[in-house]
Symmetry: C2
Subunit: 681 residues, 2 copies
C-alpha cells in the first residue's frame, strides 16, 4: 500500500528498533526485529503469552519525544482475554495491538521465550530457559472427502504454514491420539514438539502447561524437582530412599550383588524404576498436576546408578578398566525406562565422564561452571566416593577418590545418616574439654537452657558432626596431629576413657535415660583420617596435573559436602589451603545441574561439549596418589602449610606427638589403602 | 611411491576401468571406481562376500591382450577361507588379492550389494536389493584405564574409521547388549545399522545373516514371506487366518464392533498382533532361524487393518470423510507393536492412499508399476472392496469400489471361501446345458473317469467358480443378458428348477451321499451383478477421469482376482473391454509389493513418491459412478461394446429379454446401491 505512514518502534529492554508501516501488529514487528516474544496460540489472542507493556520514554536521538506509545485502541479480543484471565493496566496482547505511530514497547520477562530463570527455593545460577519440548497451538484443516489426506499430514502442513516447522516426525502414540484430539478440539489442538523434530503430544484446544522433572539418582536417596517448563519455576521438590539399599548399602556391594545373582542387575533396575515412579507420582500430587502432564525428564547419577536406571549391567564398572557402556549423553523415551509419565515424554541423561565419575559430576559442573571461570576452582562432591573437579576455562580435570563411607556416618561407632536426632554441630571447650552440640531438627545448643531437654533425643552423630568433633578435639589438643587420642588427658577430664590399648572421648551419655552413649573412638579417628586423606590426595593429584599449588576457590557439594563447615574441613585438612571466604557449600549441585539441563537445550550442549574436553585422571594408576594419601593422614597435613588458618586458630604443633603418630600411620598404611572400595580393585 | 608400475583394471559386467599402482587390492580399486562389491568383514578375509572371478578378455582398444588377470598369487588367507567355506576355482577374495598388472575382473552377482533379485517361488519384478538394515563387522579398540571412553563411543569411532559411518545413534537395548558382545567376541563384533543412522543390533564375532519378513495383513488371512536380506531369497512363505474374524466377517462389521464396544478397537489390535507373532514364529521355524534373527518387517494392509495393527482407532474410517490418521509411510520399532522379533527390528508400513485405498494398494502399485509404463494399465485388487488403479507414467488414479462379499463366496447360496472341495472351474455344454467342473485340490474334471469319486467331496463353490458358472450359463443362454434365469428352459433340462417366482440352476447334487446340493439361484446372479457392476463402474469412472475409452492392459490381483479366468471375467463384464492376451493375474501383488519394500529402500522412496501423486477418486461423491453402475448391471454391459470378445465367442443377444431385464434392474437399483458397504455411508 503506497502512502502508508511508517512508525519507529523501539523495544525495551533489548533496545532493538526499526521503522514499520503503520498497522503492523506488535508481534510481527518484534519478530522482524528478532525481539524474543513468546506465543503458544500463534497470534490468536488466546494464550496471552505475548503480553507487552505500553511504555514511556524519550528517545530524542530517534525523534521520539512523546511519552505514550502509539498503539491501536484496546480491542475486543484483549477485553475478552482480560475478562477471562485478567490483564494488568497498560498491558497489551502483542498479536492484536497494532503500531499506529512511534512507540516504545517493553517486553516483560514473563513474555520472553528465553527468559532468565528467577532463583526460587533452590540455589541456581543464572541461565536462560530453552526447554527441549515446546507447545504449539494450531488449527488443522478439515478433512475433505474429495481430496483426502491423513490427519497427520494436515497437522504437519498446518505446523509448517503457521510456525515454519518442517520435517517433523511423529510418535506412534501421537498418531493414535490425534484424531480424538482433533474431534474434541473441533480441529483446534495444541501439540508438543520435542527437539524441534518430533511431535510427541497432543491436546484438544489450547493447552498451556508443560512440566518436567529433574532427578538426581543417588545411591541412598533419589531427589527430584518438578518444574514448569515455560518459566522454570520449581513447583515441587521431593526425595525418596533408593530401594536398592536392600541389595547393598554402597555401590560396590550392589555391583557384587549383580555379580552373585544372575538376575541381580535386572532386580535393581526394577527397584530403582519403581522408586522413580513413586517420586514422579509424589511430585505430581504435590504440584497439583498429573503424571501425564510431565513431558520431559533430566537425570543425573553416578555411573552405576546411571547404568542401572537404563537397565545396563553395571558389572564392568566394578573392575578395571571400569568401562562405561556409554559416556555420552543418553536420550531415551520415558516409556523405554518403564516410567509413568506422558507417553511422549523424553528422558535426558547427562553424559558420564569416566567409570567412577558419572553424570552426577557432569551435573555438578553444569551447576558450578568451573569451565566458565578464569580462577582455578576445586569442586568436590563428597559421598562414599568423592568426585573431584579442578580447573578453569582453559583446562578441567576430574577424578574420583575412594573416601569410603565414614563421611556419611557409616563405620563410625556412634555414626548415623543425617536425620533428626543426629549431632551435627560440636564445640569443645579448649580449657575444660567439655563439649556442647546441636542436633538436626533443633536450633538450640545442648548447653543452652532449652537444650537440656533435647539431649535426651540424641540418636547418634552424622557426618558433619563427626568432622566437627574430631576437628574440635584436635584443636583442643585431645587428638594429636597424628590422630592419637591423648590418654594422658584422662587426668584432666573424665571424658577421656581407656578402652583396651587405645582411648576414647565421651561426647554424650544418654544411657541413664536408656538412650545411646555417643563416644569418639580411636577407630573413628582413623576412619576419618583415611577418608580425608583420600579426599585430599585426589584433589592434590589433580593440582599436580594442572601444575598449581593452590586453588582460588572451593565448592563442597553433596549431602555431606554441603553440610560440612569449611573451617573444620580445613582444620582437619580435608581440603587444600584456601582463603576460607572462598570455600562454600554448593548444595545438591548435581541435582541443580539436572534442573538446568531440564530447562535448557543450550546447557545440554554446553555440558556435552565440556565433558568431552575434561581430562580424566584415574587415581588407581597414579603412584603419586598413594604418596599424597600417606602424607595427608596427619591433621591437617604432614607437610602442607595452611596459611589461611594461621591467625584464625592456633593449630597444635605436631612435634610433641609426631613420632608415635607417624609410626602409627605407617603401620596402617597398607591395609588402610587397599581396603578402600573402588581403589584399584 | 615413485616408480611403481601402473596397471589397467577393467571390471565386468560394469565395464568400469581405471589405472592403479600395482599392489593395490582389488577391493580398493573397485571402490575407487565405484564398482559395487559387498563386504561385511571390512577386508579381513573372513566373510567371503567380496569374491571376484579372475576373468579373461581381450580389450585391444585398451591394450589388454592377455587372457589372464595379473593378480597376486593365491594367498594363505584365501586358502584358509577356502578350507573353511569353500572357494570355487578362479575365485579370489578381492580384499586380499592385489592387482599386479593389467587385469579383467568379473564381479559375480552374489558379490554385489545392490544385486538383482532372482525370481524364485513368488512372482516378482526385477529390482535391486537395498535393504534398510545392513551388517558391519568391526573390531573395537580396547578400553584403556588411562583414557577412559565408553564402549559405544569406541564402537562409533571404529565405525567411522573403518566404514566411514558418522552421526550414528544407538538403541538403548543395543547399549545394554554391547559390553557382553564385546566381551564374548573379544572386541570383534558385528553390528546391524538401520537406515544408515541407528545401530540396532550387535553380535559377537562375524554374524552374516539378517532376515526380514514382508506381511500382507488381509481382513481374512495374513500372509508373510521371510527373506534373506542379503540376497532377497524367500526362505519361507506362510499364511494364518486373521483372528479378528470373530469380531466381524468384513471390514465394516469390525468398525461397527469398535463403535459398539469401548475396548473393541484395542481387542482387535491385540488379536491381530497375536496372529502376527504366530506367523513370525511359524515362518522362522520353517526357515530354520529364530525370531531374534528377524531384523526388518515390511507391511501392507487395507486402511482398517493398517490402523488396527498400529493400534489406531479405525472408527473415523467408517464414515465420511473417511479420514486416515496418517496416509504417509510409517516407520516404527517392532517392539512398539508388541511384535516378538529382534529387539532392534523396525517395521515399515507402506503409505495409504485414501480412506478406502490402503497400503495394500500401494503394495500392488509397487509390484505392478503402472506408474513406470507408457501404456495405460488397469490394476484391480478384488476383495470385499475392489481397489482400482488406472494410469501410466503421466497420471495415476485410484479408487475403491464397494463390490461386496459375493466375489469371495459370501452371500452366495452355495458359496464358500477358496479351499479344498470348492468348485473353482465350471463349463456348461451349450447344447445339453449339462455342467462339468473341477474342485480345488484336484486336477481332474468331474466328467473324467477319475473325477466321479471326487464329486462326492464337493463342499461348495468359491468366487472364481461362481463367476465361471454364471458366465457359462450366460453363454449357454440359461441366463439372459439382464441376469434372469430363463424358466422356459425347464422344458429342455431338469437342471433348471422353479423356486417360488424365480428359477435356479442345479450345478451339483451330492444329497444322495449326504453332501451339499449346489444350486445357482436368481439371488446369486443378482449378487454377482451388483458386485461386477460396482467393479466395472469404478474402473469406468477412473477411465472418465483419465479421459480414455479403453485400457491397454489389465492386471487382476488378490485372492479372488488372481484366480479368476480373464475370459469369463470379460464375458460377465467385470472388466472393461481389452485384448484378452493383455489381461493377466497379478497374484498377491500387495504381498509382493511388501516384499519389494522389505528389500529395497529405493522402492520405499519410489512408492512414497508415487502415492503422493496418485489422484484419489471417491466413488461415493461421484454422480457418474451411480450411472455407470446401473449401466453395468447387464451381462456383459447394457451399452459398452466388447470388441475383443467378438470372434472368440457368440454373446447372446439382449434384445430377446431386454425389456424384462431392464425393468428388473431398475426396480432393484435404489436398494442395491445403497446397501453396498462403504458406499456413501
Amino acid at each position: 500500500m503506497a502512502g502508508v505512514a511508517e512508525a519507529l518502534v523501539i523495544f525495551t529492554p533489548s533496545g532493538r528498533r526499526g521503522r514499520f508501516p503503520a498497522g503492523a501488529t506488535v508481534l510481527d514487528v518484534a519478530r522482524a526485529l528478532g525481539v524474543d516474544i513468546d506465543s503458544v496460540c500463534g497470534g490468536r489472542g488466546i494464550c496471552g503469552r505475548c503480553q507487552v507493556q505500553q511504555s514511556v520514554g524519550s528517545f530524542p536521538k530517534h525523534g521520539i519525544e512523546s511519552r505514550s506509545a502509539h498503539l491501536s485502541p484496546f480491542s475486543g479480543v484483549e477485553a475478552e482475554y482480560g475478562d477471562r484471565r485478567g490483564l494488568e493496566a497498560g498491558r497489551r496482547l502483542s498479536c492484536v495491538a497494532q503500531v499506529l505511530g512511534d512507540a516504545v514497547i517493553d517486553v516483560p520477562p514473563e513474555s520472553q521465550v528465553f527468559r532468565q530463570v528467577v532463583r526460587k527455593g533452590i540455589d541456581i545460577r543464572d541461565f536462560h530457559i530453552d526447554p527441549a519440548v515446546r507447545l504449539y497451538y494450531i488449527e488443522v484443516a478439515r478433512p475433505e472427502l474429495a481430496s483426502p489426506s491423513g490427519d497427520l499430514v494436515r497437522l504437519q502442513e498446518a505446523l509448517e504454514a503457521e510456525w515454519g516447522l518442517t520435517d517433523l516426525e511423529a510418535d506412534l502414540h501421537l498418531i493414535r491420539a490425534l484424531q480424538p484430539a482433533l474431534s474434541a478440539g473441533k480441529l483446534a489442538i495444541t501439540v508438543a514438539i520435542h527437539d524441534g523434530r518430533t511431535i510427541s503430544g497432543v491436546w484438544p484446544g489450547l493447552h498451556e502447561k508443560a512440566y518436567g522433572v529433574a532427578i538426581d539418582v543417588g545411591s541412598t536417596t533419589i531427589a527430584g524437582h518438578l518444574a514448569d517448563l515455560s518459566d522454570g519455576a520449581v513447583l515441587a521438590s521431593s526425595g525418596v530412599m533408593n530401594p536398592q539399599i536392600r541389595f547393598g548399602e554402597d555401590l560396590m556391594s550392589r555391583v557384587s550383588y549383580a555379580m552373585m545373582h544372575p538376575e541381580g542387575s535386572a532386580e535393581m533396575t526394577v527397584a530403582v524404576r519403581q522408586a522413580l515412579n513413586g517420586l514422579l507420582a509424589g511430585l505430581a500430587t504435590k504440584a497439583g498436576i498429573t503424571r501425564d502432564d510431565i513431558l520431559e525428564l533430566a537425570m543425573v547419577g553416578n555411573p552405576i546408578m546411571h547404568h542401572l536406571v537404563l537397565g545396563i549391567d553395571p558389572i564392568p564398572l566394578g573392575s578395571a578398566p571400569f568401562a562405561l557402556a556409554t559416556d555420552r549423553a543418553v536420550r531415551v523415551r520415558a516409556v523405554e525406562l518403564d516410567l509413568k509419565t506422558h507417553l511422549g515424554a523424553r528422558v535426558y541423561l547427562l553424559p558420564c565422564i569416566a567409570g567412577h565419575v558419572g553424570a552426577d559430576t557432569a551435573g555438578v559442573i553444569l551447576a558450578e561452571t568451573p569451565h566458565a571461570s578464569d580462577t582455578v576452582s576445586l569442586v568436590v562432591d563428597v559421598g562414599t566416593n568423592a568426585e573431584i573437579v579442578l580447573g578453569n576455562r582453559d583446562r578441567l580435570l576430574a577424578a574420583s577418590s575412594p573416601t569410603g563411607p565414614a563421611f556419611e556416618g557409616a563405620q563410625i561407632s556412634g555414626g548415623q545418616r543425617a536425620a533428626p536426632g543426629a549431632i551435627e554441630r560440636v564445640r569443645i571447650d579448649r580449657r575444660t574439654l567439655e563439649p556442647r552440640f546441636r542436633v538436626i531438627g533443633s536450633d538450640v545448643w545442648s548447653d543452652e537452657p532449652a537444650g537440656l531437654s533435647l539431649e535426651v533425643g540424641v540418636t547418634g552423630i552424622c557426618g558433619s558432626g563427626i568432622v566437627e568433633v574430631i576437628a574440635e578435639l584436635f584443636l583442643a589438643g585431645v587428638i594429636t596431629p597424628d590422630g592419637i587420642i591423648d590418654g594422658s588427658l584422662m587426668a584432666r577430664t573424665p571424658r577421656v576413657i581407656a578402652e583396651g590399648r587405645t582411648y576414647s572421648y565421651l561426647l554424650h551419655d544418654g544411657s541413664a535415660a536408656g538412650r545411646p552413649r555417643i563416644v569418639v573412638t580411636q577407630n573413628d579417628v582413623r576412619a576419618i583420617q583415611l577418608a580425608k586423606a583420600a579426599l585430599y590426595a585426589g584433589a592434590r593429584l589433580l593440582m599436580d596435573h594442572l601444575g598449581v599449588d593452590t586453588v582460588d576457590d572451593i565448592r563442597l557439594a553433596g549431602a555431606f559436602g554441603s553440610q560440612i563447615d569449611p573451617f573444620h574441613a580445613m582444620v582437619l585438612g580435608l581440603i587444600p589451603d584456601c582463603d576460607l571466604a572462598k570455600v562454600r557449600s554448593a548444595g545438591n549441585a548435581a541435582g541443580t545441574g539436572a534442573l538446568i539441563a531440564l530447562l535448557s537445550r543450550t546447557a545440554r550442549q554446553e555440558i556435552e561439549d565440556v565433558v568431552r574436553t575434561v581430562e580424566k585422571i584415574e587415581t588407581a594408576v597414579e603412584p603419586r596418589f598413594q604418596e599424597h594419601f600417606v602424607e595427608a593422614m596427619a591433621f591437617p597435613h604432614r607437610s602442607a602449610t595452611y596459611t589461611h588458618l594461621s591467625g584464625v586458630v592456633d593449630l597444635p604443633s605436631r612435634t610433641a606427638h609426631g613420632g608415635a603418630g607417624g609410626r602409627s600411620v605407617r603401620r596402617r598404611r597398607g591395609s588402610g589403602v587397599t581396603a578402600l572400595p573402588g581403589n584399584g580393585a
